[in-house]
């Protein structure tokens, strides 16, 4: 046997050996794989750290101070940051650190519930529209178009004006204006997946529509929805702050960041920290979510895989 022949024979044997030894190949679920990708992305990790910081601040922050968010000490008005008041005080002598910490709770909750609400209704409408098509698709898509034709903040103002200004109504308004964004995303994903062969296979197995949607279509459209939800978190917080700034969100003593900005507008020269603290908080949280969103997009995109 010549060397070439021997090489040739070895090559032919190779696949067989692989088959025998592949028992210990690691099983990596797509989710675990995405997390692994995400952890390699420094910006995403930074964004994640910022968000975790604000979550911890919201939960434990108030424990570190003797103050309450609405406790006015009129002798301590507009104090700069010091050992007693870490981030200074506002125009009625309330401790800014305590207020920002409570504000983190409000903003993160607004973000969470607005995104969850928009995601829930957007997904339902998007699935119905994309999966069943025909007139129902026409109807839902046109409603989305109308909602998207308004500048979103204007629409939110209109909704709050109808429902009455309160934090809860601001939250509902933000959820509503975000529904078409998720709805359209889900719809387009469902339409492309509906034509996939594995969806046809599911139908050929004798599965019901509900099962096909829940087990085959939605899990495969998850990636862009997760990305949009993360980015939407930031937008929702920003919109809540804008509504608060306009006096259409949280009411007076509640330390909503946008409201805090609006209240301290007059002291921008006298006591800039009263603006910088809530302003910087909004910026950092939104930036954090955007960084995670971008990282997720890369981690979940099959084209970015090496």
């Amino acid at each position: 046997m010549t060397i070439e022949e021997k090489d040739h024979k070895d090559q032919r044997l190779a696949p067989q050996q692989q088959l025998l030894e592949d028992e210990d190949i690691e099983v990596v679920s797509p989710f675990r794989d995405a997390v692994r990708q995400l952890r390699k992305n420094r910006m995403a990790v930074a964004g994640f750290s910022v968000i975790v910081f604000f979550i911890l601040l919201g939960i434990f922050g108030p424990l570190f101070t003797p103050y309450t968010y609405d406790g006015q000490v009129l002798t301590n008005r507009l104090l700069p940051p010091s050992a007693e008041n870490w981030l200074g005080t506002d125009d009625v002598g309330r401790d800014l650190f305590t207020r920002v910490a409570y504000g983190a709770r409000i903003s993160l909750m607004v973000g969470f519930f607005a995104v969850t609400g928009a995601l829930f209704f957007g997904t339902i409408l998007g699935v119905i529209s994309g999966y069943y098509g025909r007139w129902i698709d026409m109807l839902i898509s046109r409603i989305f178009d109308i909602l998207l034709a308004f500048p979103s903040i204007l629409l939110a103002i209109a909704i709050v004006a109808i429902l009455g200004p309160s934090l809860q109504n601001a939250l509902i308004a933000i959820a509503i204006i975000n529904i078409p964004i998720f709805g359209r995303l889900v719809r387009s994903k469902v339409i492309s997946l509906r034509e996939e062969e594995f969806v046809m296979a599911a139908r050929a197995q004798g599965m019901k529509n509900g099962r096909i949607v829940m087990h085959h279509i939605l899990p495969n459209s998850l990636a862009p929805i997760i990305v949009q939800a993360t980015l939407g978190f930031g937008t929702a917080i920003l919109e809540a702050a804008a509504l608060g700034f306009l006096g259409l969100g949280a009411k007076a003593p509640k330390p909503e960041w946008g409201k805090m900005l609006a209240d301290s507008r007059d002291f921008i020269q006298l006591a800039p920290w009263t603006l910088i603290v809530p302003g910087l908080s909004i910026m950092l949280v939104v930036l954090g979510f955007n960084l995670i969103g971008d990282g997720l997009r890369d981690a979940l995109d099959p084209k970015m895989k090496n």
């Binding site: 099983v27 594995f198 046809m200 599911a202 197995q205 099962r211 495969n220």
Partner: protein, 339 residues
């Protein structure tokens, strides 16, 4: 092979062509145009044809994955064209399909265990333990191993994936499996493994296949009878040997002469067809093949040839074999030779 398991009568599938601003229907693609055949219990019926001739659409229409426009399909003497969605869903236990592309036909987010176990679940096997056992058993039947159950499709090769697809189709012990080009996405060495597996399974589980392919040698290898399709129509259907040895329809003759022989010195007499396949949106009048047929007659352009038995168990749709047309010679037409 006594009674027909599947009987198809005058099956048609027209896809609308939408155009204009308002999406009005401006035409129809006649993907399947009046096809009739029977599949006997336990046999393998091969269907061949060029790409775009409607063979895959025919296969999917048989399971009503694509709704037929017209025609009747009988499965076990029961008409399935009018069944409600729910009844059809339950019937899919008995009729299964293996898809062409093993990369697209498995849900990338499900483990093999879920892929094969899901049809069991939806047809009533509620116990997770029982499903697990059955999945293991099926994996071994198709030549994989039980430990593969926890993996995801992307961790398998094309051939292995197709085995998973076969295991999924077998899960509920179907009677009929439509094989929609099951090996054309695989490389040749793997093709033969899968074909042999499918033959073994047929014997083991008494299955009936409708085997759709464009590869003539693959179809010859596996089928008992073979049907040839051209432009949405069945032009010839006969026992494998009869079809390959004495093809009646000029299209079949041309198609068979195009099969390459693994002999470099062999000089073949090839029938080279002129022109292209006409568009199924605007098929020729009369016989669809008349634009390219070397034996075209006036009648071919006007009248669509009848689908009939030209010799025992040998069906064809061609005016060359019209009994009442005595002017036409019954002998096998001379071939136009180009070498």
């Amino acid at each position: 092979m006594t009674k027909p398991l599947l009987k198809v009568e005058g099956l048609k599938k027209y896809f609308p062509i939408k155009g204009g601003v308002f999406g009005k229907v401006v035409g129809q693609v006649k993907a399947v145009d009046d096809v009739s055949f029977e599949v006997m219990e336990g046999e393998i019926l091969g269907i061949v044809g060029e790409s775009g001739c409607g063979k895959s659409t025919t296969g999917k229409t048989l399971l009503r994955l694509v709704e037929p426009t017209e025609g009747n399909i009988f499965f076990n003497d029961e008409s399935i064209t009018e069944l409600s969605d729910e009844k059809m869903r339950l019937l899919r236990r008995d009729m299964q399909i293996i898809f062409q592309d093993p990369y697209a036909s498995l849900n990338p987010r499900h483990t093999v265990e879920k892929i094969i176990g899901e049809p069991l679940l939806v047809h009533g096997m509620k116990s997770a333990q029982a499903r697990k056992e059955r999945v293991k058993q099926l994996l071994e039947v198709v030549g994989l191993s039980a430990y593969h159950a926890s993996r995801y499709p992307h961790q398998f090769s094309g051939g292995q994936r197709q085995r998973i697809g076969i295991a999924r189709a077998l899960a509920n012990n179907p009677k009929l499996i439509i094989c929609d080009e099951p090996v054309s996405a695989l490389d040749v060495s793997v093709q033969s493994q899968i074909l042999n597996l499918m033959e073994e399974l047929r014997d083991q589980f008494n299955l009936t296949y409708v085997f759709i392919a464009h590869d003539l040698s693959v179809v010859k290898h596996i089928s008992d009878r073979v049907g040839v399709m051209y432009l949405g129509r069945m032009v010839e259907l006969a026992n494998k040997d009869a079809l390959y040895d004495t093809p009646k329809h000029p299209y079949t003759q041309a198609l068979l002469s195009a099969v390459p022989l693994p002999d470099p010195d062999d000089k073949q007499d090839r029938i080279i067809l002129q022109g292209d396949v006409p568009s199924p949106a605007n098929p020729p009048t009369g016989c669809a093949f008349h634009t390219r047929c070397p034996y075209v007659m006036d009648v071919c352009k006007a009248v669509r040839p009848e689908w009939k038995e030209v010799s025992e168990d040998h069906f064809a749709a061609c005016h060359l074999y019209n009994d009442n047309d005595q002017s036409e010679e019954q002998q096998k037409p001379l071939m136009q030779v180009e070498s």
